[in-house]
């Protein structure tokens, strides 16, 4: 067996200055930018092609969505706080903030669930017209990304203790990576919210 081992897992590469996981997450975010870019450009093309496209605020519940936006922004803050408390060697504070982030994420999904249920009751389905099609597809895909983020955060919450004791720097790097993904998902919602609900 050779002695070689994969480097730069826990400390940054001397030249590039980043760890493997951070670079990997940023590359993954780059591909997500292209995914949501494609979704947005399709939304633009479809909306231009259809002059009878209704305004978002005539159909959708804007106050509820504003609340949802607030929830997601707060979860972004608690996420970064959980990372900061790891930097301050306060694992208990990390656990508190991570639980908060997960609860806020679930809250976001629950509010979205109510929104969808409300639409379905009134017989508005994705096939009703392209406005609903785009609404359900874009917010649905974003919702799946939020769900993915919740699962990752939950995994780190559960296995956090053992990883933290084994190698604190590596665990802090992983939380930062999870944080980057979570902030990106919040960033997508920051664009999604006005373009669908407010225009």
């Amino acid at each position: 067996m050779s002695t070689a081992v994969i480097h730069y897992i826990d400390q940054p590469h001397p030249v590039t200055g980043v760890t493997n996981s951070k670079l990997g997450v940023w590359l993954f975010i780059a591909s997500e930018v292209m995914l949501f870019g494609a979704l947005f450009s399709s939304y633009i093309v479809l909306r231009i092609g259809d002059p009878a496209w209704p305004h978002g605020w005539t159909i959708l519940n804007v106050p509820l969505a504003t609340l949802n936006t607030m929830i997601l922004i707060t979860s972004s803050v608690t996420m970064v706080m959980s990372w900061a408390s790891l930097m301050m060697n306060r694992f208990d504070r990390f656990r508190l903030y991570m639980i908060l982030t997960i609860l806020l994420g679930l809250g976001f999904m629950v509010v979205k669930g109510f929104e969808y249920a409300h639409k379905f009751e009134h017989g508005h389905f994705p096939r009703t017209d392209n406005f609903y099609g785009i609404y359900f597809t874009l917010t649905g895909l974003h919702g799946l990304h939020v769900l993915g983020g919740i699962l990752v955060n939950f995994y780190f919450l559960v296995t956090g203790k053992s990883l933290w004791t084994k190698s604190p720097k590596m665990f802090a790097g992983r939380i930062e990576a999870a944080g980057l993904y979570w902030h990106f998902v919040d960033l997508v919602w920051i664009f999604l919210f006005p373009s669908i609900y407010l225009l």
């Binding site: 803050v77 970064v80 930097m87 919040d186 920051i190 407010l198």
Partner: protein, 102 residues
Amino acid sequence: MEHGATAEDIKKHVRTYVAIFVALACLTVVTVGVSYLHLTMPIAVTIALLIATIKASLVAAYFMHLISETKLIYYILVVTFLCFVGMIVIIFFTDQGMMHVP
């Protein structure tokens, strides 16, 4: 620990995070308020996108630490942004390119 963060440093960070949070919340209220004015589409779109870009850059700069990031990540983001703009502009632009019955 990264970039020599002492406990004191992190406390300063925490204060900025809370400040950013307040800024984001206010901007959200503003963008919703503007939408209640039901402005004409071109104006509404530019305002909404402007506010969204400000909020997005706040999140990216402070929460994602892009302020103090390495050159490599900037390269990747610049290339991605160029391809992103290439896709958005040209797909948007193509609709004008379609011929119209004379």
